[in-house]
């Protein structure tokens, strides 16, 4: 069984609180995301797991009225003091609904690299091919790179979005319920892909599907709202331990399907 103490921390939240106006959505979260592992955030709807995930690449900055206390770190640096463009280049994101741009498959994958200064057509072609291969999509689309990304199936679209995130060569990939809009076969492909990706990337995934968390993740964090509807981290540890011998009775109740 993996042990947290032996892992290299890639990202970290420390005494992290997040407020929507006066409403406290996250309460004093401290968690470490280990390198080259898959960390799953589970918990019932509204427990703040997506909000926590979005704190790692500062996507919550886009929401008016959000304030935070505490600190989030990437490789020991406070992300609040980082250039947000640089941060998001290092911490990629895949969303719940596949959201390819209404552009060609090639232009979707090349979007990020172009932003960050890769203009040369052949460099881009190499990068696009590499990213699509890593996202296990290359074989299916290699002859149709000029076709619209929207013409793909849902599962292919989501892998295209993964390729798009990989193309900027991030260290961390955040996945916000990446398979919840997909059918079981497409879901399985995404899960296999995640296992492949963790060799090169650090992955944090939000999922409402506990079997999925059990199948793919190395570590699991269980979040739950308290009586003020603020999200708290109840328990964090190796996935096996959380699923077999949780130390908190609320974790056990949730895992065994007694609520949520």
């Amino acid at each position: 069984m993996s042990k947290l103490e032996t892992e290299v921390t890639r990202m970290k939240a420390e005494d992290y609180c997040l407020f929507y106006g006066n409403f406290r959505a996250l309460n004093n979260i401290s968690i470490e995301i280990p390198t080259n592992r898959i960390t799953a955030f589970i918990g019932p709807s509204g427990c703040g797991k997506s909000t926590l995930l979005r704190s790692f690449n500062r996507m919550n900055d886009l929401i008016p009225g959000v304030t935070t206390t505490g600190t989030v770190y990437l490789d020991g640096r406070n992300v609040a003091q980082e250039d947000v463009v640089e941060l998001r280049k290092n911490v990629g994101m895949v969303f719940q609904r596949p959201n390819p741009f209404p552009k060609s498959i090639f232009d979707n994958v090349a979007y990020g690299p172009r932003l960050h200064g890769t203009r040369n057509r052949s460099d881009l072609a190499v990068l696009v091919e590499k990213s699509l291969k890593r996202a296990a999509l290359w074989e299916e689309v290699k002859d149709d790179l000029h076709k619209s990304g929207m013409s793909l199936s849902g599962g292919q679209q989501q892998r295209l979005c993964i390729a798009r995130a990989i193309a900027v060569e991030p260290e961390v990939i955040l996945m916000d319920e990446p398979a919840s809009a997909l059918d079981p076969v497409a879901t399985l492909r995404i899960e296999e892909l995640m296992n492949e990706l963790k060799k090169n990337y650090t992955i944090a995934i939000v999922t409402h599907n506990m079997q999925q968390a059990g199948r793919v993740s190395d570590y699991t964090a269980f979040l739950l709202t308290d009586e003020n509807r603020a999200g708290n981290l109840i328990e964090f540890g190796p996935t096996k331990q959380i699923f077999t011998t949780p130390s908190d009775s609320r974790t056990e109740d949730y895992i065994s399907g007694r609520f949520g």
Partner: protein
């Protein structure tokens, strides 16, 4: 009569009444076209539609009824209005939907709607006392301030609400996922707007512009007040080709409005013919907007 039969009777009557109301507008469009076309027939027969469209000389006393100069006038003033108005409208639309804080949008949006409600004769007055004196300051031979440039500026403001409103709707309809996806890849707000949001909203923006074109072509009174109304084919007044906009001109609509009160015979019929041509032109423009919008909705 049993209540059952009476109720079916009402049902049927109401259906008819509602259908007739709905068909009324279709009928009115048809009637307008038919009666205008009927009045235009003598002109089309005696002058010939080809001659009307290709001849630049409009001299009713001389039995010369070429409207090419007016077509050029309408075309140029519309082009000018698009050049000035579209960037302004697009900027407004993007600002309102993507950048403006709520309270700013709450002030700006009603002001734009107010702009749409101002009577066009008031735009004409504004053009005469503000725009024309400004344009007059451009040193060029024979420049009185009245002409295509002043008219284009006034027209640009008049079509601004149409284009800004519909474009804003198009920009707003871009799925939030595109924006988030772009920002999450490290794009700045402006990169996201220019590389993802505007391209995604393009079909809507194009149809907004085309609808604005339709409006611009039909504008009458404000144009009469600032464009100078000389029936001449506009030409550059200096060596700079852009100085064509300092030329006086007359629009198709202005031609009808200025002369209809005293025209008789073929002259009168020729004005109706101008109306028919204008009608067809605007219909073409509007249906192409509809086509573009549908094409955009499908992709």
């Amino acid at each position: 009569m049993t209540p059952g039969i009476r109720r079916t009777g009402i049902e049927k009557t109401m259906k008819m009444v509602l259908m007739i109301s709905a068909l009324a507008s279709v009928l009115i469009v048809l009637l307008i076209f038919l009666f205008t076309a009927k009045e235009a027939m003598p002109a089309f027969r005696e002058i010939g539609i080809g001659k009307m469209l290709s001849d630049t000389t409009w001299r009713p006393g001389n039995n010369q009824f070429g409207i090419l100069a007016m077509i050029a006038g309408s075309g140029l003033v519309t082009l000018g209005a698009v050049f000035i108005g579209v960037p302004l409208a697009l900027g407004t639309a993007v600002f309102l939907s993507e950048i403006a804080p709520l309270w700013v949008a709450k002030i700006v949006r009603p002001s734009i709607e107010l702009l749409a409600g101002i009577p066009s004769v008031v735009y004409g007055l504004f053009g005469m006392v503000v725009i024309v004196p400004w344009v007059r300051m451009i040193p060029a031979p024979g420049n009185t301030g009245y002409g295509l440039l002043s008219a284009s500026i006034v027209l640009a403001v008049m079509v601004l609400p149409t284009i800004a409103n519909i474009s804003e709707f198009a920009v707003r309809s871009v799925p939030r996922g595109y924006k988030e996806g772009s920002m999450a890849l490290g794009a700045t707000k402006w990169e996201t707007i220019s590389r993802v949001i505007i391209p995604a909203a393009k079909p809507g923006i194009i149809s907004a512009v085309v609808l604005g074109l339709g409006r611009a072509l039909g504008e009458t009174i404000a144009m009469i007040m600032v464009i100078g109304n000389s029936v001449i084919l506009p030409t550059p007044v200096t060596s700079n080709p852009l100085s064509i906009f300092l030329s006086r001109a007359r629009t198709l609509t202005g031609n009808i409005a200025v002369e209809i009160s005293y025209a008789t015979g073929v002259h009168e019929s020729a004005l109706f013919a101008t109306g028919v041509i204008l009608f067809i032109l605007i219909m073409l423009v509007n249906s192409s907007a509809r086509f573009l919008m549908r094409k955009g909705a499908r992709s």
